[in-house]
Symmetry: C2
Subunit: 101 residues, 2 copies
């Protein structure tokens, strides 16, 4: 592969990672606005988090910075979604009306 | 890397891919039961689909079957989620009561 090919490949990998991550950023923004993540499956967030850990292991071994970078960022976003879902699901279960201290 | 390392690495990559994909399978099953994907962001599904296309391009160029396999399966699941979300969001917008033919 020529240096141009490699540079092009770098752009493709980075663009792929950025697209996937920005999808999750938008999901977080949507959840923050609607205060609801009820339709998002727990298993989805936890399995993606766990899968990302394995992909980081794989990426480190073959020393592929795109795999490592995308999945480290992916885990950060997944932990955010998990914390938000826990909070909003709890809020949804609480009976409406003022909270009695 | 010894052959054992490589075999171990294969297992890690496949396990990572299977975990992420099974997270989406569970999301599809949950959506099918609840008939709702309102909380799931459109951008999430479309950006992950587009990002997966780029990752397949990357995987083909460096000839990494795990990247290719995970992302081909990922796109299939994403198209499924998109079609389901389109259907359920439409159903949610329809006024309740019998459909007048």
């Amino acid at each position: 592969m020529t240096t141009v090919d490699i540079a092009l490949l770098d752009v493709v990998a980075v663009a792929g990672g950025v697209l996937i991550l920005s999808g999750w950023v938008h999901q977080i923004i949507k959840a923050y606005k609607t205060k609801s993540l009820r339709d998002v499956s727990w298993y989805l967030t936890m399995f993606i988090g766990a899968g990302s850990v394995l992909w980081i292991t794989y990426g480190v071994h073959i020393w592929d910075v795109y795999i490592i970078g995308t999945n480290v960022a992916g885990i950060t976003l997944m932990v955010t979604v998990i914390l938000m879902k826990r909070k909003y699901d709890k809020m949804a279960r609480r009976p409406p009306g003022p909270r009695l201290k």
